[in-house]
C-alpha cells in the first residue's frame, strides 16, 4: 500500500470503520512507515482525549427532571385534612348565611332606627362572605385556584 492511500484511510482505520482486509493492509503499512504511524498516533491521541468521560451530571438534574415529570396530585398542595374540613364547613356556612340574609333584607326594607341600618348592613356583608366561602369550595372552578 502506498503512503497516500494509507493516509486517506487513516481516519477510518483508527475509528475501526474499515473492513477487516483493508484494515490488515493499513496495519501492515504502518509497521513499515514511520510517518504514517505518527499520523495514526495523532488520531489515537484525539480519540483518547475526546473519549474521556465528559462532565458528570448533578443531583439537582435528577430532582428537577423528576419534579417536572411527576403528575400533580388532584388536590394540589393543600393537605387532605384541610380539604375535608372545608367540605364539611361549606354546607353549614350556607345554612347559616341564607336565614341571615333574609332577616337583613327585611330589616333594610322597613328600618326602625339608624342602629338597625348598621346591623342590617353588617349582616348582609357577613351573609355574602359566608356564601362566597361556600362557592369557593364547590368543584366548579369558582373563586380562584382551578
Amino acid at each position: 500500500m502506498r503512503c497516500d492511500r494509507a493516509r486517506a484511510a487513516l481516519a477510518a482505520y483508527t475509528a475501526g470503520l474499515l473492513r477487516a482486509e483493508q484494515a490488515i493492509r493499513v496495519a501492515a503499512h504502518l509497521e513499515r512507515c514511520e510517518g504514517c504511524a505518527r499520523a495514526a498516533a495523532e488520531y489515537e491521541t484525539l480519540d483518547a482525549r475526546l473519549s474521556a468521560e465528559g462532565p458528570s451530571s448533578s443531583e439537582a438534574l435528577v430532582r428537577q427532571v423528576l419534579a417536572r415529570v411527576t403528575p400533580p396530585s388532584r388536590t394540589g398542595t393543600c393537605p387532605r385534612w384541610v380539604t375535608r374540613a372545608n367540605a364539611a364547613a361549606a354546607p353549614a356556612a350556607l345554612v347559616v348565611s341564607l336565614p341571615l340574609l333574609c332577616m337583613a333584607l327585611s330589616s333594610l326594607t322597613a328600618p326602625a332606627s339608624p342602629g338597625a341600618w348598621v346591623v342590617a348592613t353588617a349582616t348582609v356583608l357577613l351573609s355574602g362572605g359566608l356564601a362566597a366561602a361556600h362557592l369557593r369550595t364547590l368543584p366548579i372552578g369558582l373563586g380562584g385556584r382551578g
Binding site: A11, A12, Y13, T14, A15, G16, L17, A20, A23, I24, A27, L30, E31, A37, A40, E42, Y43, E44, T45, L46, D47, R49, L50, S51, A52, E53, G54, P55, S56, S57, S58, L61, V62, Q64, V65, L66, R68, V69, T70, P71
Partner: protein, 197 residues
C-alpha cells in the same frame, strides 16, 4: 500495530443486558411507576449530559439540554416503540434539543456571556484538572459542520456503534461513516494548526 477498536463480545453482552434492563424500566414507567422513572433518569443522565457537552462545548448548556431531553423522553414514553434501545431514542432527543438550543439567539447570548465569564475566571485561576470544560478539542468540535459534529459526539460516547448513530441522525450507515471520517480528518487538521497535537 493492532487493528483499532470495535466493540467486543463482552461489550455487546453488556449493551444487550442494559437494553433489557431499560426495557423493563420503560414498561414500568409507562404505568406511572415513579421508581422506574427515577431509575431511567439515573441510568442515562451522565451520558445525556456528556453528549450535550460534546455537541455544545458548554457544560451549563449541556445540563439544561439533558434536563429538557430527559423530561421530553419521560413525558412521551408512549411514543417509544422499542425498535431501538431507549438510550438511542434518548440520544436522538438530546441531539434535537441541542439543535433547538443552537437556534435560540437568546440562549446563544447567555452562553456567550457564560463563556466570557468562564474565560475571565480561567485567566486568574489555575485550570482545575478535573474541569472537563477545559478540553479544547471539544471547543474545536464546535467548528465542524453540525452533521459531522453530531456524528463525532455520538461516536465518542462509549461503544455506540455506527448503526445506532445512523438511527439517531436518521441517516444511512454509509453516510455516517463518511461524516465520521471527514469530521476526524478536519478535527485533526484544526488541532495540528493550533499546536494541540
Amino acid at each position: 500495530m493492532d487493528i483499532p477498536r470495535k466493540p467486543g463480545p463482552a461489550a455487546e453482552d453488556t449493551a444487550a443486558s442494559d437494553r433489557a434492563t431499560d426495557a423493563a424500566w420503560v414498561a414500568r414507567a409507562r404505568q406511572g411507576d415513579p421508581v422506574a422513572r427515577e431509575a431511567l433518569v439515573r441510568a442515562h443522565r451522565d451520558r445525556a449530559v456528556s453528549l450535550a457537552w460534546r455537541l455544545t462545548g458548554d457544560r451549563d448548556a449541556a445540563e439544561d439540554i439533558a434536563q429538557e431531553a430527559l423530561v421530553r423522553a419521560l413525558s412521551t414514553l408512549s411514543r417509544f416503540r422499542g425498535d431501538a434501545a431507549f438510550a438511542t431514542w434518548l440520544f436522538r432527543i438530546v441531539v434535537n434539543e441541542a439543535r433547538t438550543h443552537a437556534r435560540g439567539a437568546c440562549r446563544r447570548q447567555r452562553r456567550w456571556e457564560r463563556q466570557r465569564d468562564a474565560d475571565q475566571a480561567r485567566c486568574v485561576e489555575a485550570p482545575d484538572p478535573g474541569d472537563t470544560r477545559a478540553e479544547p478539542l471539544v471547543d474545536l468540535m464546535q467548528l465542524l459542520p453540525a452533521s459531522q459534529r453530531e456524528a463525532l459526539a455520538l461516536f465518542y460516547l462509549r461503544e455506540l456503534p455506527v448503526e445506532d448513530i445512523a438511527r439517531v441522525q436518521g441517516a444511512q450507515a454509509g453516510t455516517v461513516r463518511a461524516r465520521l471520517c471527514r469530521g476526524r480528518e478536519r478535527l485533526r487538521d484544526l488541532a495540528r494548526e493550533r499546536g494541540m497535537l
